[in-house]
Amino acid sequence: MDLSYSKDDLAFRDEVRAFLSEKLPKEISNAVRSGAELTKAMTEEWHAILNARGWLATIWPKEFGGPGWSPVQKHIFEEECCRAYAPRIVPFGLNMLGPVLQKFGSKAQQDHYLPRILDGTDWWCQGYSEPGAGSDLASLKTRADRDGDHWVINGQKTWTTLGQHADWIFCLCRTDPDAKKQEGISFILVDMATPGVEVRPIRLIEGGHEVNEVFFTDVRVPIGNLVGEENKGWTIAKYLLTHERTGIAGVGFSIQALEEVKALARKTRRGGRPLIEDPLFAARIAQAEIDLEAMKITNLRMLFKAQEQGAPGPETSLLKIKGTVIHQELKDLARRALGPVAAPFPGHVSEGNLMFGPEDTAHNAARYFNNRKTSIFGGSNEIQRNIVTKTMLEL
């Protein structure tokens, strides 16, 4: 047993820290820290900075332009990015489509699309969920019918994150309506500029716009936009669901959140003293901190196992469940720490130059509500429990 990083890993960490301290623009990290929604321009700027250093596609193999990092290095990089309040990488092109093309795509597809993901030419989004196909993804109904050299796509996708910025969307479509549920699905790339593609915003609970509905009406897409085999799209979907889930615990984000909670509880006064000296609130923090300390090690153990075995196991579902619960608890504590001063709707908060609470507390309630999503998306925590039941408990 040895919980410490190797010398090489420590050197790597220093390198990452130096890079972040030098290259991460203050206005971007401040925006992340405030909890505000990031602009498209900020995201693109940060992607470009990482790409210039060769650190954008962290999970790609070297041959495709990735840095060739070990799982531990990837973990260190993510940890340090969180610590520095760097933006999250938009994952759809880099962490999802990239690996799919590398494993299932043709050489031509790889040569065409991968560089455009890296240099930011194409912003990708994901066309998986449908109104009637959420947890039960395989019941999706969007059809792609063959018509000569084209697929003709009709249907509707939903929960399309940042679809409003996207140039392309990768879709799961039903290409054989007579086949059994998981069969007859294909993985198809669609240029969002194609006639018949319409993006409509979904306003979220806290008022923000990050997801969309995407409607397809007789959208004609070249045959060559199929990835992998026709009717074998489910294989790709499953591959993505189990691929690269070591970051799934979101430990870095919880570390951020814990720091924020402590800072807020030091600045908020309750009963004539800092809230952090209130035993009931301190107990809430301490319990969350202990859970998080354990989660750090659980995460490393899974990482180590993935490194030893070459692939993450079903334990990653446990990381997803507990990781989201801890993060959501911390977001709850931030809102709770502020009490009434977290209650205003963010848009109004700095109106008239009034600062609220111990600092500008604008986004804390909004982030609490927004983060309820993490136990729902990417396979809800209920679905994760079903998976563990089958794979680990064999019930």
């Binding site: 709850d332 809102r335 009490g339 609220f356 309820r372 136990s375 209920e382």
Partner: protein, 356 residues
């Protein structure tokens, strides 16, 4: 022992529920609740006409109610339709005016809208931490300080302010027009204001107001608890309905035992929350009113979080959208914890009774 509502109260409940169901559909409510001034003057007048304000004050004060159960009936109805009109301010102000023996007619007719300013940024829940000060006497009284998140303050005509003069905690009336008021909308709809007082003219309402303020707070807590019961009840019904309709894996998701048992646990907590609210209503105005108000607010805080979070989780993504009503119900459930003392604050109040 009788757990039925009196006929009068049942009629008031039915009237308000029917009125709000018909005149205040959720889409309309969302528009009003999130757009300045976060208030619907026409609706306000109609609710007054139906007796929503008169029910808050006793007959000797010109009202037609004023007991804990009257208050509970009104606010449960408001909760069921997420109505954020400034009735809480009216209730608390009415208690203070009654304590002062002041005229309540302008309040009860709805002509004059009141808000109550107790919270400050460094004294969110605690009367003994109020830092706003009053100086002078008679017509020359002025207030200085800042009252924060004054619910309904964005449309109030008069704000009753808790302030200290020589260590005496008093209540003072400030004309909104004479104060520096910044109104804004709330995360869960409706409005509030920051009230900046800088030698602002005020009139003395109650010189030693500790008891009167505590009574107003107890009434306000009861109101919030009853409102929460209404919100939870509707939220749970919507969730159970959704479990029946929504199909995944070829069957209604309500067939999944995990969701069934969680829906039962929600129901249990709602019934418990309803019970403690009834108890707080029965005790309002009595010697143990503060204790049971704290018990109720603590339990409501826990139950409302459970119902709010579980209703979202069991719906899945759709409850994360602005368009689907459950999201607004969940927001109200979570945010009302921060009004008049949160879960932990009120637990501490109960704990204080152990060390006598």
């Amino acid at each position: 022992m009788d757990f039925n509502l009196t006929d009068d109260r049942q009629m008031l409940a039915d009237t308000l529920n029917r009125f709000l169901t018909e005149q205040y559909p959720v889409e309309y409510r969302v528009n009003v609740a999130y757009e300045a001034p976060f208030h619907d003057a026409a609706l306000w007048d109609q609710m007054v006409e139906l007796g929503a304000l008169y029910a808050l004050a006793p007959e000797q004060a010109g009202g037609m109610g004023g007991s804990g159960f009257d208050i509970a009936v009104v606010f449960e109805a408001l909760g069921r339709r997420l109505c954020p009109e400034p009735v809480l301010g009216a209730l608390m102000a009415s208690r203070l005016l009654a304590a002062a023996g002041a005229d309540q007619e302008p309040l009860l007719t709805g002509a004059c809208k009141y808000a109550v300013g107790i919270s400050e940024i460094d004294a969110a829940y605690e009367l003994d931490q109020v830092a706003t000060v009053a100086t002078g006497a008679g017509d020359a009284i002025t207030l200085s300080g800042r009252k924060s998140t004054v619910y309904g303050g964005q449309v109030a005509d008069v704000i009753l302010v808790a302030a200290k003069q020589d260590d005496r905690l008093g209540v003072y009336a400030v004309q909104a027009a004479q104060a520096n008021i910044t109104g804004y909308g709330m995360m869960d709809g409706g409005g509030a204001a920051e009230v900046l007082l800088d030698n602002t003219p005020a009139s003395l309402l109650i010189a030693d107001a500790q008891e009167a303020l505590q009574d107003a707070i107890n009434a306000g807590i009861l109101a919030l608890c009853a409102e929460a019961v209404g919100v939870m009840d509707v939220t749970h019904t919507m969730t159970v309905d959704y479990l029946k309709q929504r199909k995944q894996f070829g069957i209604p998701i309500g067939k999944f035992q995990v969701l069934q048992h969680r829906a039962v646990d929600m129901l249990t907590e709602i019934e418990q929350a309803r019970s403690i609210t009834i108890k707080a209503a029965a005790e309002l105005g009595g010697v143990e009113a503060s204790k049971y108000a704290s018990m109720a607010k603590n339990m409501i805080g826990r139950a409302a979080r459970l119902i709010g979070e579980e209703s979202i989780q069991m719906h899945g993504g759709i409850a994360m959208t602005w368009e689907y009503a459950v999201s607004h119900y969940a927001k109200r459930l979570i945010m009302l914890d921060a009004q008049l003392g949160d879960t932990d604050y009120h637990l501490s109040q109960v704990m204080k009774t152990y060390v006598a």
